[in-house]
Symmetry: C2
Subunit: 302 residues, 2 copies
């Protein structure tokens, strides 16, 4: 999360006051942590002009794989095991549902499926360390162990940087997909990790019942509770209805209507699907206290 | 940092409103991140009643060492190298200055110095992973490499859990020290990691010039920018003067007068040593907006 990397910042308030909180310390408990007022508030409480980011050393060894799994529950089981096996070295856990994965392979003929079976779920995994001697061995032996127990159905490990790039191109093929389906509802939402599988199946069923010709593509940063939904139908009008149905399903699963991209204008009408009336009232209290004339990015968020 | 582990919480506002933000998602950008108002604000904006914490799997392998170094600059160089060599597996980087270390060994005769030389700086290191096969080897070979280059002067690696406990007992001997020196200034402060060494030398010099019989003990979680200072002299009156001198030195180095324990009542008079007038004014704006009758933990922080 970007928030966790921001140590300090400088922001200008609505009345022109410059709040310089350019903290460089990891630990600082001298009064309120004011930077939190400006991170993720979409410019509605102040304008961020500078920031201090905590950097991490670049690690020299990267291992990449695509693995196939039979069920979402197995995806979650594998996530928990890998967080333990690979500790903080697990740097990508990108889930692609069958229809997304094969649509990308069809759209981008230069890409091929690195595993020779068809599975309901494909997972792009990355492990980083600075231990070039043992990194590859640890990653390979870990995946082999989970294949022996039957948790992983099939796996392909990148043998070089070119393989790894080709694996990532499947995941990043989303930009091609968005060009093909210009009329669509494109949502990034989140919910507790264990619920995402059931949410996704129910959502697909509900959408297909209401919109018989709909095409639905799902992928997500599952380790971050996140799922992206691209759903295309014939008209913009359909897409507005699709968006509403997605948001209702997110509400039912106590999820967040925006995992990554904020509320802005487009999701404003749905804010109360994810936040209580008391929470929204508190946001408004903050807004009035800091920007009484409502001049900072007015009309956004609520 | 605890803040980074809190996913959600429930808090009661001054007017009795219950703000339930029991978020369970890693990524959630649906409006303002309200939990940040209540973390570290010492009960002045609301009373936290519940919280959701993100847990991490316990790792099975722990490697522990005490190493001796010749200078603070070498400590920082080693920190940067180990963050790269051991990545996120570096779970402790506890620096003990010579006088602290040897005072603890003298106070607690069951403990012994595991390295056979006397050094200006002693560092307690811990590395955790789930890789029992390679964990020990990686840790040992990493330390050996930094000894060969002369960065580390001397090192002792715990061979079993009993050794590791004995190493930690030196660091944790601080509780004994605080019992012996009941009259003292006991401060936890932070500043940019690279400045801590110079800050500490200057502070020791300044304190010894002003208080000829003073005893000063320094240790800190250097990876978190933190240094603890225990300075004892004859009277409470002396200790108040010592605290003021420490706070002035922190201000001079653009540090934080409280790394971990907050402001409360004891550090209130020094808040403006670490925060600007505009920042303190913004804290007061928040306080007035959320607690206009000033009934929540009044008199704390500012």
């Amino acid at each position: 999360m970007t928030r966790a990397m921001v140590l300090g910042l400088e922001a200008v308030l609505a009345d022109g006051t410059v709040i310089s909180s350019m903290n460089k310390m990891i630990k600082n408990n001298s009064g309120y942590d004011l930077k939190q007022l400006f991170i993720g508030t979409e410019g509605t409480l102040g304008i961020v002009c500078k920031c201090v980011l905590q950097l991490q050393p670049k690690l020299s060894d990267t291992q990449t794989a695509i693995v196939g799994l039979k069920s979402y529950d197995q995806v979650v089981e594998l996530l928990n095991l890998l967080k333990s096996d690979l500790a903080q070295g697990l740097t990508a856990f990108e889930l692609m549902w069958h229809d997304y994965y094969h649509k990308i392979l069809q759209l981008l003929p230069d890409l091929r499926n690195p595993i020779d079976t068809t599975e309901p779920f494909y997972l792009l995994l990355e492990y980083r360390s600075n231990d070039q001697t043992n990194g590859k061995e640890l990653f390979e032996s870990t995946l082999a162990r989970h294949m022996e127990t039957g948790l992983i159905e099939n796996a392909a490990i990148a043998q070089n940087g070119r393989d790894a790039e080709a694996f990532w191109n499947i995941r990043e093929g989303v930009s091609e997909l968005l060009q093909i389906y210009a009329i669509r509802s494109n949502q990034d939402v989140s919910m507790p990790i264990a619920s995402i599988g059931e949410f996704a199946s129910e959502l697909e069923n509900d959408l297909m019942l209401s919109f018989p010709n709909i095409e639905i593509f799902l992928f997500g940063h599952i380790g971050d509770s996140n799922i992206h939904i691209i759903a295309s139908n014939k008209s913009e009008d359909d897409c507005a209805k699709i968006t509403k149905l997605i948001m209702q399903k997110v509400q039912q699963y106590e999820g967040s209507i925006s995992a990554e991209h904020g509320i802005g204008i487009l999701k404003k009408a749905y804010l109360d699907y994810s936040r209580t009336e008391a929470e929204i009232q508190l946001m408004k209290t903050l807004k009035s206290a800091l920007d009484p004339k409502n001049i900072l990015n007015p009309g956004r968020v609520f």
